[in-house]
Amino acid sequence: MKRVALLGMPNTGKSTLFNRLTGAHAKVGNWPGLTVELLSAKLLVGDQMVQLIDLPGIYDMHGFSDDEKVVTTFLETQTTDLLVVLLNTSQLDRQLNFVQQVMQQRVPVLLVMNMVDEAQKLGIHVDTKGLSEQLGVHVCLLSAKYGQGMEQLLPAIRKVLTATSPSHPSGVETNHVEQAFGQCISVPSQASHVLTESLDRVLLHPWFGLPIFFAVMLLVFQGVFAIGKPLQDATAWMLTEGRTFLLEPLMATWPTVVQGLLLDGLYNGLSTVASFVPLIVLFFVFMGIVEDTGYLSRAAYLMDALMSRFGLDGRSFVMLLMGFGCNVPALMGTRVIRSKGLRYLTMLVIPFSLCSARMQVFVFFIAALFTATQAPWVLFSLYVMSLLMAMLTSLLFKNRYVNNDAFILEMPPYRFPTLRQIVLRGWQEVRHFLHRASRFIVIGVLLVWALTNFPIGVGAGSIDSWAGQMGQFMAPVLSPLGISAELTIALIFGFVAKEIVIGSLAVIYGLEGQMLVDTITSHLHWMQAYSFMLFVLIYTPCVSTIATIRNETKSLWFTTLSVVWPLCAAWCVSFIFYETATYFVRA
């Protein structure tokens, strides 16, 4: 099978093009000699299947960063039949060098000039035919985001792949590319994005910029809540009805143990978790919109001065924000940071980001113990707490992990996210959830069911069950935090993945939906619930996070630190909160 690699600088729309070409069927895979996984997919070009590989975005073919090493190692060790080189058409001047370097690789090249929509708005004109003739390579002008010009891409790839004498430009002279670009590309002298300029004047305002940013984030959380809560209630209702009217009559004649395992164990656990899917998907869609508009780079600009005092920088802050979705991609995103110190420090603080899995735990408890007017503020306080913990951690460790990286970041113009991007992101989230569900949550809830129902003969979830005994064993440590035996079991399983927490509570209490909420409301004081939420927020997010940290750092010591420190911090914060709160309530 022929192999086609996608190459380009960061922010040239590589993943957009990759998604556009392959749909959502890409797989991550390991490559011999490479330390990172690369995204690849099979693609039908004409009548032959080719393998398309998404290489990391790099600035220079001769650089020394991890990503640059990945690309050069890949090109050295894997036979590549074609390099599709992606360029941002509106910023061609600064990509000249890169094009030259790529053309010296002795691999057939196809130049794809992306973001033609933006270039046209700026009045940039490209003579693709002239350029193609002068450089001796195919040139496509397109917009991967809007699909404009996409129809030329596959035929062009086919042409290069089937050509008898592949037209890779041998020995391109250094100024040849510059000459060709100069002759075939015209850029008006005053090219600027008018909308971006006026928006930036407000959104990057020295005094109003930050308040606006926090207001936008608050609005996102409010929006997720306002739209997501009814959706979640509806899903939960449907799943309960499904049990009462479909599953219970169907299984009525089955043995009690099997019924218990399937209904109280598997179904209760899974359906409680599944009812949160709409909320999670919405959250990712909203965060995705914020990301796609280009506002996150503005956040980096606004926050950098503050972050530098904590030994971090604007990019660390953006990674923290990304961590609000899921910590794992945020941890992998730190690869763009070249200073080892800064990268480690950022990886140490990312797990404090309140990810969507933890959000579902909080939404559940907040709905059970706080009024609808209090709810968004309680959730917001947890987000603030999440940032405070990150700041505290970086203050404590900034002298150990010292930042010596330069801070330079591209500011893309503001962009409208397309419906296609939004839908794709939502779909990927559902898929991601199902994937996790099949791995952790099913095993988790079944294990919880077994622990709460064995040894045979004990009352489900009673003190005599295995789970009850575990809870009792931990009681001296966790009861000063107001965390009950039931919650302790949920915490233990939550170590694997936070999605299990609510599912395991459903199994422990043998209830689901509104019944479970009512039981929690009557069993817990709000202070206990908040203390529990603080603990869930701060201690290890999930096994995947730990595995990712281990993978990215290859350091057992650092991985241990990233588990032990949050665990200690979680205990201390919950302890301080619970003891202080009960003192004041008693007084």
């Binding site: 910023q91 001047d93 600064r94 500011m411």
Partner: protein
Amino acid sequence: MPHSSTLKSNATALRTLEGLRVGESACIVSLNVEADLSKRFSALGLRPGNWVRVLRSAILGGPMHLRIGTTELILRRHEARSIALAP
């Protein structure tokens, strides 16, 4: 006054991007950074011969918002100090 004129020429010779005010443009003459960083700067448009304009500066010593051609960047002042400008 020859003395003050040497002072002045020294000052102008040391003009860096950090000292460029909001709304002003200048031509880059050299990058005084290590090779790897210099490659990254060049790839983003910060290279000798190019004109750079300061769009705005963040408060509390935060980064500068720059434009080179059609590319916009943010850069910390510390790094801006190592970019020398034509007088």
